[in-house]
Structures are given as structure tokens and as C-alpha cells.
Symmetry: C2
Subunit: 530 residues, 2 copies
């Protein structure tokens, strides 16, 4: 059997001409295999056909993305597959802008009546998908260094110009949310998708290179730890199978109350609001970990800063204190900002021109300036000393509001990120480590210009007796936290971590105003379409 397979391998075809598109896309699926079968038919045992090599396709980004903007490609043959952005017919030539999503730049394709497939010119409308073959040439245009002299065009999928929702003229972001399945075909949302992707990959690279282990914290939780205030229930008790909807009296109940013992998890279950507590369990074994997954808030906030479903990054460092935590948060933020400035130049230029003027300077500031830190108490003094009129009161013991945070980072520190640390314990979570003054906890918030708080973190209370006292003070049920307390019973270590809302980071990095435009399919009160 193995011998037969080896014999078949010897008969393998010459390497597929990988850069020739006709080979991979438009061949008949079975064409390759039938030849094979003929050779192998004599074998006594089943052989099967070889699986081909993974296609390596040249994308527009690879041609135009380099320093020379494609000059090295002049004279070479190229095939581009993508979607038509615009089509301008002139007297002798027609210019078709084709985008393949790999970068913001289109490939300008020049058609003449001699071009094979020119007869389909009426189908070359905005939104149509095409395959164009030709030779790269220097362009006379000011917008690009190179263009494609097209020898052949195939319209793959048409796009009716009278109904295609995204025409050339600029559509509003509000409208585009109603066609979220098509909006990545616009410049703005294509750029957001690429920068979002780069931020995610840079996140993994940063933590992996620093020896952190990615841990998937659970999404569904029946643990009572999180407090059910703003949580979604996850249930199988509601069934829409009855004609016209879910009959209330078909919901399993006992003494007039929902009978959770009949639910999927045999008790109430929720969508997680944070993976931190679970993350701490793995940090207490593997030293440094991070989570990167979706989290949820059933908060009825119809604002430009809130989503019901968003992605969170939550690293947790063992054998670490608040200083280590602040240093990690700063290094992380600088790393991902540098990463997109270096790897998403074209998209960032686009945001700088069309979305937020000066964003590149703002991000360069973050990438290069030393971050500063100050205590909450000093921040209160600073705000009081500023003599500025704020809407919300400034007083030791009250939380900082967005206007205060932005004043500190934008005005007082002139655009530098600032970390505020050591907050009053009354305004912070029970798990934060109490400082020696008995009044404050080792919490920190990282503030950035324009967005305000981007990262929130703390050293965790690793002392069992302190933690139990805080649970009592907070009227929380210690029994629910048995496993969390176990981490303090068995080999407890000083540890610290932080949380970062990924869509806030995307907003910060792109200048996009509304958080609903920072995630492909936003979920907000009243809407979970697509």
C-alpha cells in the first residue's frame, strides 16, 4: 500500500505554476485527478489523488506596498482578482480601479478596445468582481507609480449599479452600519479591518515573545463570582418551537419560579464579563498568561463607547507587583502602536487624512514618550490646583470622570499617556491589593489622550485574610469564591494584571469615533443583526 502510494508520488505532476492564476482557479476541479487515476488504476490498494500545493497568490499589497510602490514590477505579467471600485471610460481607454482587500490602494487597470473581454464593459460596474491579466507599466497618474495594461478581463460576478448599496459617493457611517455585510468594501472599513487585525496579531506577538501563555477563559459561566447585575443569561429553557413563539407556561417551573435544575447547566448561567479570575488560576501555575476573547455587558447604554459584546485582552503576571504591571501595560501599548505605525503605513496615512488629523503624531507620541505615573491623591491635588471648572466634583474619594482623565493626559501632561495609581479602596473592586495606608489599593488606570482610560489593572490581593475581609465588607458570598480563595491557600504569590477593551484600542489607533465601527458586527441594545 505504501509502495503504491510512493509509486503514485513519483508520477506526480511538475510543480504547478503557482503564479499562474488559471491553474488554481479556473481549472475543472476533476481535471487534475483524472490523469492521476489513470496511472494509479493498476494499484491493488486504494491510493487516492494527491492534494495540491497551497496556492500562493500575488496580492496588490505585495506589488504596490513596497518602498518603490511597484516600480520593480514594471514589465512583469500580473493577474489581479478583486472588486471594481470605479470605472471611468475615456475616449480611447477605460480606467478600472480594482481592489483586492490586501491594501487600501487599488490597482489602476487600463483597458482598450483591444483588451480581451472588452465586450463586457457594460458589466464593469462598482462592486463587480473581476479577474484582470496584463503587464505592469509605469503610470502617468499622480496617484500611483504603476498601473496594469490589461490584456484580458473577466467579469466574475456582476453588480447591478441601480441597486448596489455602496456607490462611489461617500456613504454615512450610520447608513453603512445597516449594510455591515458590505461595508468592508469601503476604504474606511477595509482599513479598520486591516489595522484591527494588525493590533490583534501584535498583541499575540508581544505576549508570546515575552513568554506569556494564551489561555481561553470560559465564555459561559455558572460561577456566582461575577455578580449578575449586567449579565446576559444563557439558557435552553426558552423554546420558540410553539406556534407563534415561546409559551410562558411551557417554561419549566416550580412553585411559580423558573426551575433552573432543568436548564442546560442545571443552574443559572451567564455570559462572562471578564476572564480575570479564571486567568489568575492559570497564572498561579504557568507564571504569566493572557486571555484574548469576547466578553459581554447587558448594559442598556446606547453610546458611542459601549458595546454589549466586545473583545478583551487580560494578561496576568505572577510574582509581580503594581510596578511590574504598569511597566507591562506601557511596554505592551508602545509595542502595538509601533507595530501598526510600521506595518500599516498606508492605512494610517488614510486615517490621518480622512478620519482624525494628526493621529500619526499622537500615536508617535505614545510610542516614544516615557509614560508617567502618579498617585490618585496627587492627581486630585493636580485637578484642584488647576483651577479649571469641571462638570463633576473633584474630591478625594470620588472616582475620576472622563473630563478629569482627559484633562490630565491632554492638558496637564501635553499628550503623554499617564498612569494613575493607588485609588481609594471604596471605588475599586474587592480583589485589588490593599496598600499599607489601609485606605487605598494597588490599582492603576492608564489614560491616553482623546480616549481617556484605555487600560485598567491592579495588583491582586494575595493574602487570604485580607481578601476574605474584603469579601465580607463587600457583602459577597465567600462560598462562591472557594476556588478563587484556594489560590491564596495553596502557594499564593504576589500577582498583578490588567484589562484592555480591544475595540477601545481600535478606536484609539484609528481615530474612529464610534465603537460600533471598530468591530465587524456590533451588538448593542436592540440590535444583533447579521
Amino acid at each position: 500500500m505504501a509502495a503504491a502510494a510512493a509509486a503514485c508520488r513519483l508520477l506526480r505532476l511538475a510543480p504547478r505554476r503557482l503564479r499562474n492564476p488559471r491553474h488554481s482557479l479556473f481549472r475543472t476541479p476533476l481535471a487534475l485527478s483524472s490523469g492521476w487515476r489513470r496511472y494509479c488504476a493498476a494499484a491493488a490498494t486504494p491510493t487516492g489523488d494527491a492534494v495540491g500545493e497551497f496556492r500562493r497568490r500575488i496580492r496588490v499589497a505585495e506589488v504596490k506596498g513596497g518602498e518603490d510602490q511597484g516600480a520593480a514590477w514594471v514589465g512583469k505579467e500580473l493577474t489581479v482578482r478583486g472588486w471594481v471600485r470605479t470605472c471611468r471610460a475615456q475616449r480611447t481607454v477605460t480606467f478600472v480601479e480594482v481592489n483586492d482587500g490586501s491594501c487600501l490602494s487599488n490597482m489602476q487597470c487600463v483597458l482598450t478596445p483591444e483588451t480581451e473581454g472588452y465586450g463586457q464593459i457594460d458589466s464593469i460596474n462598482t462592486g463587480a468582481s473581476v479577474l484582470v491579466e496584463g503587464v505592469v507599466a509605469s503610470s502617468q497618474g499622480v496617484k500611483q507609480k504603476v498601473e496594469l495594461k490589461v490584456s484580458k478581463i473577466i467579469v466574475i460576478g456582476e453588480s447591478d449599479p441601480t441597486s448596489f448599496p455602496i456607490q462611489k459617493k461617500r456613504a454615512s457611517r450610520e447608513f453603512l452600519r445597516t449594510v455591515a455585510h458590505l461595508r468592508p468594501r469601503t476604504n474606511t472599513f477595509g482599513a479598520v479591518a486591516r489595522v484591527r487585525n494588525a493590533l490583534a496579531y501584535a498583541t499575540h506577538k508581544f505576549f508570546q515573545d515575552s513568554g506569556f501563555i494564551w489561555v481561553s477563559s470560559p465564555i459561559i459561566t455558572a460561577s456566582d463570582c461575577e455578580g449578575a447585575g449586567e449579565q446576559f443569561y444563557v439558557t435552553t429553557l426558552l423554546s420558540n418551537s410553539a406556534e407563534g413563539g415561546c409559551l410562558v407556561n411551557s417554561i419549566p417551573s416550580k412553585d411559580g419560579r423558573v426551575d433552573w435544575s432543568q436548564d442546560f447547566f442545571c443552574k443559572p448561567a451567564f455570559l462572562t464579563v471578564s476572564g480575570q479570575l479564571n486567568g489568575e488560576t492559570y497564572a498561579s501555575a504557568l507564571s504569566d498568561i493572557y486571555t484574548f476573547g469576547p466578553t459581554f455587558r447587558a448594559e442598556n447604554s446606547n453610546t458611542s463607547r459601549h458595546l454589549a459584546e466586545f473583545w478583551m485582552i487580560e494578561p496576568e503576571l505572577a510574582f509581580a507587583d503594581l510596578n511590574d504591571d504598569m511597566a507591562c501595560a506601557s511596554a505592551y501599548l508602545q509595542y502595538v502602536v509601533k507595530y501598526i505605525l510600521e506595518n500599516c503605513k498606508e492605512d494610517m496615512d488614510f486615517f490621518d487624512t480622512w478620519v482624525e488629523k494628526g493621529i500619526i503624531d499622537r500615536l508617535n507620541n505614545v510610542a516614544e514618550k516615557n509614560f508617567v505615573q502618579m498617585s490618585y491623591s496627587d492627581a486630585i491635588k493636580l485637578l484642584i490646583g488647576s483651577n479649571k471648572k469641571f462638570e463633576f466634583p473633584v474630591k478625594w474619594g470620588l472616582d475620576l470622570q472622563s473630563e478629569h482623565e482627559r484633562y490630565i493626559t491632554e492638558v496637564a501632561f501635553g499628550g503623554s499617556p499617564v498612569i494613575i495609581r493607588d485609588y481609594p479602596k471604596e471605588i475599586k473592586a474587592f480583589y485589588m491589593r490593599q496598600n499599607d495606608d489601609g485606605k487605598t489599593v494597588a490599582a492603576m488606570d492608564l489614560l491616553v489622550p482623546r480616549v481617556g482610560e484605555l487600560i485598567g489593572g491592579s495588583q491582586r490581593e494575595e493574602r487570604l485574610d485580607y481578601l476574605e475581609a474584603r469579601l465580607d465588607e463587600s457583602n459577597l458570598n465567600k462560598d462562591s469564591y472557594w476556588w478563587y480563595l484556594d489560590l491564596r491557600r495553596y502557594g499564593s504569590v504576589p500577582h498583578a494584571g490588567f484589562g484592555l477593551g480591544f475595540e477601545r484600542l481600535v478606536q484609539f489607533a484609528t481615530g474612529i469615533d464610534n465603537i460600533r465601527d471598530a468591530i465587524p458586527f456590533p451588538r448593542v441594545p436592540g440590535s444583533a443583526e447579521f
Copy 2:
């Protein structure tokens, strides 16, 4: 202000001795900043203190993980922070095995009565956390090349030997699931966590290097597309706030039926079972994308192969046919398998010895053999021709069962992965592209030894009329799919993709029998603890 900050920067301390642990961990949080404040006090504007550099700590993996197993470290000072695995007192010396989670290997620490902190010897129990300082020395033991001659030990967190649930003796996997917060401190679960992490990172690397964009498909969906059969409801209508639980008659209703208009999303909402349809929208704009996120099944399956919550990887390739899809799936699987064989050697040796004998050979087979493909029709012939007695019938038109799949890959192809393609359309999903024979669709399943189906994929039906006909045939409501159909109305392209259950991959790569041990906190019927 900027000048003041610059002046402060000039006064900055000499670089912290990064490898000296006492600096980063046990300093008083404010010690560093008070010196600063003195220098900056004269500045007119707020300055804050500098955030320190991110700690770079030497982990055991860095010392012992190299080719020389630590020989180059002999004579050097080293500090290790971790958890005690065992403590063996001999007449003159005490051996303490310390693990920091960075690798399977412990650091063998040798204590004598002269060691500073030796008085705490009674607290050095399994599970305790310690900091040990000393000098690396050649070891006489057969198990390791180097050990640490300890000059100082600090017990950071004790661990009561009478109650710590994970003692040295081997605990059953069933028991360890009840202490999922502590099980990563065992060899097996530490290794699973590291290999799982490596598989996840290799996944990102493979797709990023191939030009794919990571897209986060939504978790909550109110789209009717997915069919609510085995979906979890996501709701805010159930409130546990009433004394004793959720009163059924407090659930908003209308004419005896649940009033969805009062729910958070104003209609029934579910947890996603797949990100594919959403992924297709982004592939139709950015060309190649992949999702990597949690998906859910409310299936009442208490088996070793099913989870209610699991992670899925779903790439989608534009301008691609089934051959491209198979090639991508094969290249992907070979890449991640090679990655862990190269980067997780020690953990893989552990699995080979203790979990599944021969797993490294099995994986080498997958990494090196050419994958083969055959049609479903040929597979049926093969099974019938085998004259083997199967429990389930073999007949064209019936789906392949696990026993058939394993026979094909394990017996007929002697351990090679096999792709079966072109299944009867009746047993496959509506969105799969119909082949020219009118009877089959361009679907493919990738089968691997031991696990059976690991990957399932297809070319998608890109022709509007065919897709609408299939929706009708399947009694699905076309209106619900308006946006999915739009992709075929506007610039439709041939495209294909596949789905991979990440925990199945972890099982396949580690030999772990039960899928509940392949994810940190498994969710199954009746249990969503921690």
C-alpha cells in the same frame, strides 16, 4: 512642562539590573518614586514619576530548554520563582523540585542547613510557592544536567500538606476536573496548556504569513440563519432578583407568549454555532480571512468528544475552489503539527511516554506525508470492497460514520490523513456548491488517524439562482438570508473555506482522550463551574 519632564528624564536612575529579582519584585512600591519626587519638586507643572522598564525574568525554560540542557549556565547566579512539586530531605541535603510553568522540567534545588531560610524547611511542601537564589551547578542526577545550589530560599505562599488537593501521587483526570483551578499545576495539564498555546499561536502565524486577516465573527446573533435547534438563548428577560429565584409571571409576555420585543435585542438572540456566514462577508471584501473564536452547541451529549463551548478556526478564501481549500487545510495542518514538534519537544516527549505511545511518529507522519484525497463515491467503493463488517451500513447516500472514517485513514491508508470530497448533497449543508453531476456538492472532510474528522469544509455556492433553489429545497426562509444572498448579488466570487474545532486539534496533538481535558474550563451538560 515638556522641559520639566525632560529634566526629570535626565535624572533617571541607571538601568535597573533587570536580572536581579530583588529589584523588581520585593522593592517597596514607592521606594523608586520618592527619590524622583525630590528632584522634580521644584518643577512648576506636574511631572509624575517614570514608569519602569518591563521586567525580563529568566524562566526555567530558558535555562534548561536549550540543546545543552543548561550546561552553559553552570557557575552563574540564578533566581527561580515557582511552585514546589516535591521536597526530599536526605541526611545532609534537601532536594526541592521547583516548577515555574515555563516548561515541564523542574529546577532541582539543593538546600543545606547553611542555606539562608533553611529554617522554613517545614513549610516547603508540595504546592507552596518559593523564591530560590543560588548558583547553577552540574547535577549528579540522571534526570537533569544542572541543578541549583541554593544560597537563599523564601517561602512566599505556604500550602497545607493535609488539605492541598494535588499531592504527588497521580490523581485521576476525573478528579482533576473537579479542581480545574489547580490542575494546570500538574505535569499533564501544564503540558496541555503549553501545547494548546503553541497551536493557537501557530494558527495565527500560518494565516498571517499567508496574508489572511483575522476577523472576529459575532458571538451573539439574532440572525435567523443558523437554525435554532441546538442553540443557547441569550436573554435579559429572566431575572433572579426576586426572593428565591425568577418568578415565571415576571417574565414579560403577551398573550401567554414571551414578549421578545422587551428583550435586550428586541428579538430572540442566540449564541453562534459558526462564524462562517459572517466570515464570508469579509472574504468578499478582503479576499482571505480567518476567524478564531468560541462557538456553542446546546447539544445534550455527554461524550468525550463534545463540548457545549469550544473554539473554532474558520478560514475563508476568496477566488478559490475546493482544490484550493483542500490544499490550504493540508498546509495548515502540517504547519501547526510541525510547529509543536519543533517548539514543544519536551511536552511532546511527555505525551509520547505517558499519554499516547507513538504520538510523535503519528504526528511526524502527518507533517511529512503527502495528503491524499478521494471522492465520497470512491470511498464508498473502497469500504464495500474491504469486505469488513461495519456496525453502520455503507451505501451511497448515507453519511460516513466514525468507524468508516477511521478505517479509511488508519487501515486503508496506513495512517495518512485522507480527504474525502464530493459528498451527496442531501447529507450536506445548503451553502455548499453543487457539482455538475447535480447529485454531489463540493464538500470535503479531512480525516486523521485516531480522531477521524478533524476538518470539514466546502466550496460555497456562489451562484445566486442555485443558492436560492437550495434554500427552497431545504425549507429555509430566504428573507432571513438577505445579506448572505447579497454577497451573490454584488460581485460574487468563487470562494471556499473550512472549519476546525480547536479542542479536537488539541486532542489530536496531545493524545488526550477526553475533550474536557483539552480546554481549561470545560462546559458540558450540567456543568459550567469555575
